[in-house]
């Protein structure tokens, strides 16, 4: 199946909120991140902890890691929407007007690089950690790779079982479509109109023939 533009954006947001969050929640404790505290970044940790009652001990580092991971995830969704606009235009250049799975898999490379910079600009990672020797780079890469792989595999299979409407309607979700349909009068394609109720159809003949 090929995603429509609306489907791309909906899918990106929903999948990151669900699969992305679950993977992040489960994987963050196991991602190597001790380098941050070893590199004398305690000031960062202290700033981060100004809002919490925790002390900068082992659990505190985990908390910081979680915070950084989820903030990255949020940016991945936000910046991702812009990426989807680019992919959507690029898709039009292909004869088949499709976006093969292999593209989705390698999409993460340019997205990762941009995300790395954006995350620094947004202050997710402490200043001065932009270079290749950055203490958070390893954590960032592993986290991103895990999330992306999980999303990719999820979209290739289980998603179609859980959301058949998504599968048949270019990656759109029924409830979002219905919501959008209610907000904007022009309803999206095929909302499963039930016509069995009396009075909904006036004539015996379906419609006039075309041209």
């Amino acid at each position: 199946m090929i995603l429509s533009l609306s489907g791309r954006i909906q899918t990106r947001l929903i999948i990151i909120i669900t699969v992305g969050s679950i993977v992040t929640a489960l994987a963050t404790p196991f991602i190597p991140s001790s380098s941050l505290s070893q590199m004398g970044m305690s000031n960062v940790i202290m700033t981060r902890f100004a809002t919490t009652i925790l002390n900068p001990n082992q659990q505190g580092i985990l908390f910081v890691n979680y915070q950084m991971a989820f903030e990255t995830l949020g940016l991945m969704a936000g910046v991702g929407v812009l990426w989807e606009l680019i992919y959507f235009q690029a898709e039009k250049l292909r004869h088949d007007r499709d976006w093969p799975a292999v593209f989705v898999l390698f999409q993460v490379l340019p997205e990762g690089v941009v995300l790395w910079y954006v995350a620094h600009m947004a202050g997710v990672f402490p200043a001065g950690t932009l270079g290749l020797s950055s203490p958070v780079l390893e954590m960032f890469v592993i986290h991103l790779a895990l999330v992306w792989l999980a999303i990719w595999m999820f979209l290739l299979g289980p998603m179609r079982v859980l959301a058949p409407y998504w599968h048949w309607h270019g990656g759109q979700f029924r409830w979002i479509d219905q919501l959008l349909g209610r907000l904007f009068t022009r309803s999206p394609r095929s909302q499963g109109t039930r016509f069995a109720t009396a009075g909904s159809v006036a004539t015996t003949q379906s419609a006039a023939p075309t041209g």
């Binding site: 090929i2 007007r97 093969p100 290739l156 179609r160 270019g170 016509f195 159809v201 004539t203 003949q205």
Partner: protein, 548 residues
């Protein structure tokens, strides 16, 4: 008269299967569904057509891995199943890396048949099949529809005798099992084997969409007819006949001889012919620019190689630039190695993959009917996929000088200096005469709603209408007709080409339309055996192979 069904699907091929499979998966009981078909298995015609056109069980179809006709979820996909049966990761890698690193993954024919067989068993397909062709559909005053058909027992009795009956699509040597039995054949069989039936239908069912139950009072109905009543009807009668070139075949639906040249259609059974003509070094001409032509060419090339034959193989396409020869040349004197290679359109799928869903599909739904028809015709022009094996076979054959692609049309040569008419390839500049050889015409299938018994009647009585492509008109919800009391007549498959879904005859298209239909049905508890199943529960029963 039988009790009222919830859904009757008329056709019994993959179109019907796609809908019934989804209905059954959700938990609809077998008692509330009927399938009107002339075959007991849903893939009988598909398999016959494929085998005839040289797609043997180990060859690959031209379909997407995820569009899995026996699994409405498309998961596990065909590539996953193939990986499991072959115990190899190669199919998975191919599906994951398509189309950049490797070719698009397409399923093997035997995997498709096996899947369909398993799923038919699971949903108890045969228990829902009511054998016999449908003759007419009328709206009931009380809601729903009546379907007049040849009754099950009469058709069974007929089919058991059919190997002895001459069939239009058959060679003399082959039997009923090899005939695709297209809709035009059904019309002929009904007219021949049940004389008076078509007249009875014409005289007793008025040419109006409506009918009163009194028409079917006991005793009035001929013995070999039966009537099904249903709230919803789904029409998926498929292609009506082979698309035969009248200039060569005339009125015949069977293989013909032009002088000493035998002309067959790719969907006529012709395995024996191909082999024997290759063995005797006669030229083989394949006409067409679609995948069937590529398949035939490849088969001819392989046969020529295994039989160490010296046949010339000529591929003729309608369009493209011709090669300048010196006026009329006999095929025997033609130096193929001196000719240029003519390119043929190469695309992985019939329609661009994005026409099924995604932005291109959305664009199609926004078009006006007139624009839509033009776009669909342009998008679906014949093309053939690039397959490594085929490419290497053809380029080797071209290099060795026994295969070429020419632009031109085929005509029968009645020139006076020849005692018997010969076949002629009429190029833009020059002509090539063929005295003896085999012509395989790969011009596809035809879906002419006037040719089909049932759709012809639907149009006549005003239940259905034609669209601009000459197929059956359906609205955005794939409805042909709505009975305002209660019920609707839906259609899917090649019959409705020209609707907002472009690839209507693909696995994806059939399933897409099926689920669009399903979303409109009123699945009341009484037709469900144990309540409506959640999609996840239904999927798990599919995985376990449990009856829904």
């Amino acid at each position: 008269m039988n009790s009222k069904f919830f859904m009757v699907s008329v056709g019994g091929g993959l179109g019907s299967f796609a809908l019934v499979d989804q209905l059954r998966s959700l938990g609809t009981s077998t008692d509330s569904i009927a399938v009107v078909s002339i075959f007991e298995t849903p893939y009988r015609r598909l398999k016959t057509l494929l085998e005839n056109s040289q797609v043997k069980s180990t060859d690959r179809l031209r379909s997407d891995s995820q569009a899995r006709i026996d699994n409405p979820w498309g998961f596990p996909s065909y590539s996953m199943s193939e990986a499991r049966t072959r115990k190899s990761l190669a199919p998975l890698a191919r599906a994951a890396l398509e189309p950049i690193v490797m070719e698009y993954f397409t399923p093997r024919a035997d995997l498709v048949y096996r899947g369909l067989e398993r799923e038919s068993g699971r949903i108890a397909w045969t228990s829902m099949v009511s054998l016999g062709p449908a003759l007419a559909i009328r709206c009931s005053r009380g809601g729903g529809y009546y379907i007049v058909k040849i009754c099950d027992q009469s058709w069974r009795r007929l089919v058991s005798n059919l190997p002895k009956l001459p069939l239009t699509n058959n060679n003399d040597q082959v039997d009923w099992e090899l005939s695709p039995c297209m809709n035009t054949d059904i019309r002929e069989i009904v007219a021949r084997e049940f004389p008076g039936t078509l007249e009875w239908v014409r005289d007793n069912l008025s040419l109006s969409p409506w009918i009163n139950q009194e028409c079917f009072r006991k005793g009035d109905l001929p013995n070999h007819l039966e009537i099904l009543e249903s709230r919803y009807v789904h029409l998926a009668s498929g292609y009506t006949s082979l698309n035969l070139d009248a200039a060569i075949f005339g009125d015949s639906q069977r293989p013909v001889h032009v002088g000493e040249t035998k002309v067959v259609h790719t969907y006529h059974p012709h395995d024996v012919d191909l082999e024997s003509y290759i063995k005797e070094d006669s030229p083989v001409i394949v006409r067409g620019a679609g995948i069937a032509a590529s398949q035939e060419l490849n088969r001819a090339i392989e046969l020529r190689r295994t039989n160490r034959s010296r046949s010339k193989i000529i591929h003729v396409v309608n369009s493209g630039d011709d090669i300048a020869l010196s006026d009329t040349t006999a095929i025997e004197d033609l130096k193929l190695s001196k000719l240029n290679k003519l390119p043929v359109r190469k695309f992985p799928f019939v329609f661009p993959r994005g026409a099924a869903s995604g932005s291109l599909a959305k664009e199609l739904t926004r078009k006006t009917p007139r624009d839509l028809v033009g776009t669909i015709a342009a998008l679906g022009r014949p093309s053939s996929p690039k397959r490594k094996v085929w490419e290497s076979n053809t380029s080797l054959a071209q290099d060795q000088g026994w295969l070429t692609t020419l632009a031109g049309t085929l005509v029968i040569d009645h020139s006076q200096d020849q005692a018997v008419p010969g076949l002629m390839i009429d190029g833009k500049h020059d002509r090539i005469t063929v005295k003896r050889g085999l012509l395989i015409d790969c011009t596809g299938l035809k879906c002419d709603v006037d040719e089909d018994l049932l759709t012809d009647d639907l149009l006549a009585c005003g239940i259905g209408h034609k669209n601009s492509l000459g197929r059956l008109y359906v609205d955005q919800q794939f409805r042909v007709n709505v009975n305002n009391h209660d019920g609707a007549l839906f259609a899917s498959g090649p019959l409705i080409l020209g609707c907002s879904c472009a690839p209507v005859d693909s696995f994806w298209g059939l399933q897409f339309v099926a689920q669009e239909i399903l979303s409109q049905l009123d699945l009341a508890p009484k037709i469900l055996s144990r309540g409506q199943k959640n999609t996840l529960v239904a999927w798990f029963s599919w995985i376990r192979g449990a009856r829904p």
